[in-house]
């Protein structure tokens, strides 16, 4: 429903939206398929070459007209094609069960990785800072290293013995740090406790005049600290990345919650990214995009710049979705042609391998474009939802709780023609008319 409504954004773009979203992909595939036809049937090329200039002009005009008509049909089908890739129409509905399992497995895997990352980050921070749990005190690595260094500072720098090429445990940490990979707590701990005995009996001195062993020990001391902080930041960065990936690619958690929700997991990646817009608005503000989208769209027009960026994102999404659909269509057409008419094993295999690869690449790009579009849509909800209330001559809510109730009541009244609350009482709407 929302996908079809969203198509109205593009219609306001006029020629540009039609050109980029429909004519370009159609022309691109017409040219590629035309080249393939001339390769398989050289007589077709010969036929075109033999035409006199008048016939060629006529053929070009007819081809252009056919291209425009096909592009118009493609444009009209855009929302249906998008819904198909979202898993709402056949043939994807035939595979709904297995596809849903795949999406659920991907989501569980993502949540598992996120949880592992949070656990690893917590363990690492506990290792760096230490912890004071009931009954036990665990000193932080920084404290342990500092204490060892203090003990070693009583020694003479000239007596220091430390391998200038480092110790194996620290070298392993260094390799991971240089490569920008995560450093597990166990590796860091091993490096810290391998360095401590050296620090305790040798003086670490970074002075330029100090002996080489003392300077190497000082460098190792600095290096292990830097590696600890890098490891912490690396886990933190990965945690945020995984969190965003989960929130902006899946509309729900893998496990259902006690609160009722109208949003469930879609059977395709594109479907799930698309649903994140609805889930974001619903979960954060109780804003029902299915009901309120056209009102929000009207509010969006108050900012030409923002509305244009929303249109651009939608056109980009339509372009890649059209490419993916045309790639599948061309693949099926060529497989049938090779099988029944051309009968070339090589051509059949090439169509069967190259076609799906191109289609999957286009689908992958469509998913990326959809993620961008969904992000712009979420921003639209954030920025323009109060404008919807103003346009409807309704008072602005003082807080989030009141806002959620307001949107829920509004959706009930406007979208579902339901004038009663869940407890049976009437929904009360008070207008606020401007001066």
């Amino acid at each position: 429903m929302l996908s079809a409504l969203l198509d109205s954004i593009k219609s306001e773009l006029g020629t540009r939206g039609f050109l980029v979203g429909s004519v370009f992909p159609m022309a691109m595939f017409a040219i590629v398929n035309g080249l393939l036809v001339t390769r398989v049937w050289p007589s077709a090329q010969a036929w075109v070459t033999d035409l006199d200039s008048g016939d060629k002009t006529l053929l070009a005009a007819a081809g252009l007209a056919a291209l425009l008509v096909a592009s118009y049909v493609l444009s009209a089908l855009a929302s249906a094609i998008l819904e198909t890739f979202e898993g709402r129409h056949w043939p994807l509905t035939w595979l709904r069960g297995p596809l849903h399992r795949v999406q659920l497995a991907k989501l569980r895997d993502l949540e598992g990785r996120y949880n592992d990352n949070v656990v690893a980050l917590g363990e690492l921070i506990r290792g760096i800072d230490g912890s004071r749990l009931a009954g036990s005190i665990e000193h932080g690595w920084g404290d342990v290293l500092y204490a060892a260094r203090q003990a070693g500072s009583l020694k003479k720098a000239s007596d220091s013995r430390f391998p200038t090429n480092g110790i194996p445990e620290l070298n392993a940490v260094r390799r991971r740090r240089e490569a920008g990979r995560e450093i597990p707590k166990a590796d860091l701990r091993a490096a810290v406790y391998a360095l401590v005995p050296h620090l305790a009996v040798n003086k670490a001195d970074g002075d330029r005049e100090a002996p080489e062993a003392a300077r190497a020990l000082d460098a190792a001391y600095d290096e292990i600290h830097e590696a600890m902080y890098f490891a912490r930041d690396r886990y933190q960065s990965e945690r945020i990345r995984l969190f965003n990936l989960r929130k902006f690619h899946y509309p729900v958690d893998a496990g259902a919650h006690q609160e009722m929700s109208p949003i469930i997991l879609a059977p395709t990646t594109l479907g799930n990214i698309s649903r994140t817009t609805r889930s974001y608005a619903q979960n954060h503000y109780g804003f029902d995009l299915d009901v309120l989208w056209t009102r929000l769209q009207n509010a969006l027009r108050s900012s030409d710049e923002f509305f244009r960026s929303l249109q651009d994102a939608k056109v980009q999404l339509d372009f890649f979705v059209a490419c993916a659909w045309l790639a599948w269509l061309s693949t099926v057409a060529w497989l049938v042609l090779e099988l029944l008419v051309v009968r070339s094993v090589r051509g059949f295999i090439m169509a069967g391998v190259a076609g799906p690869l191109v289609a999957m690449a286009a689908y992958s790009l469509a998913c990326r474009a959809c993620a961008v579009f969904a992000d712009v849509m979420r921003t639209a909800v954030d920025l323009f939802r109060f404008k919807v209330l103003s346009d409807l001559h309704l008072p602005l809510p003082p807080g989030l709780e009141e806002e959620r109730v307001a949107w829920r009541d509004l959706a009930n009244v406007m979208g579902y023609l339901n004038l009663r609350q869940a407890d049976g009482g009437p929904i009360s709407v008070t207008y606020k008319h401007g001066a």
């Binding site: 050289p42 007589s43 033999d50 949880n115 949070v118 656990v119 059949f348 069967g352």
Partner: protein, 207 residues
């Protein structure tokens, strides 16, 4: 509630993609087998005329002039005939990708009635005919034709020398999926049959 490390198995994703790719590969294999056992049938043949006409006989007939001398069983390609001057409203499709049933001298008119969709192979006395795939030699496939003579090498070792090309058969178009029908000495045939066409080198010694 504290978080604990989770153990994950590939499970549904791996199964799905294994089944999907396996099913697709099976469909491609089945289609390939079907094509192999159901090759393209030749278009309806133009009834061949008994004997070959002289150049004067063909003057008033529909056709195109040969750009050079063409042997019997020559597979007609783009550069064999002068397509820019069709005689009597001749169509390129009447001749392109067909085989000559009569030889034609340079500038002599070639007519559809003296072509066939398939070559007619007559094995020279004391020799055997053997097809040799030209898939690994696209340049050779485009250059050689009936009447050519070729050498076939495996690296620097000659497999067969001076083999006469009786015809070139192509599955699609005029240069794709081609095989040369060669006339060779009986002793050369097993070596040629055992040669790997994708790695063998084909050298044309006479066009």
């Amino acid at each position: 509630m504290g978080r604990r490390r989770t153990t994950r198995s590939p499970g549904a994703r791996t199964t799905f993609w294994t089944v999907a790719l396996g099913a697709w590969a099976a469909c491609l294999a089945a289609g390939s087998l079907w094509i192999t056992y159901h090759p393209r049938t030749a278009p309806a043949d133009t009834p061949a005329v008994e004997g070959c006409r002289t150049a004067a006989d063909k003057d008033g007939m529909r056709g195109f002039a040969a750009t050079r001398a063409l042997a019997v069983n020559h597979l007609v390609r783009q550069d064999d005939l002068d397509w820019s001057h069709p005689a009597g409203g001749a169509q390129r499709d009447d001749l392109l990708s067909r085989y000559l049933t009569c030889p034609a001298a340079a500038n002599e008119r070639v007519i559809a009635a003296e072509t066939a969709p398939r070559p007619t192979i007559e094995t020279p006395a004391g020799q055997v005919t053997i097809p040799f795939s030209l898939d690994g030699n696209p340049a050779a496939a485009a250059a050689i034709n009936a009447g050519s003579t070729i050498d076939v090498f495996n690296g620097s070792i000659a497999i067969v020398r001076a083999a006469t090309v009786l015809a070139v058969e192509c599955r699609s178009g005029t240069t794709g999926d081609c095989a040369a029908i060669l006339a060779v000495a009986p002793d050369d045939a097993p070596r040629l049959a055992a040669a790997n066409p994708s790695t063998a080198r084909v050298v044309m010694t006479k066009p």
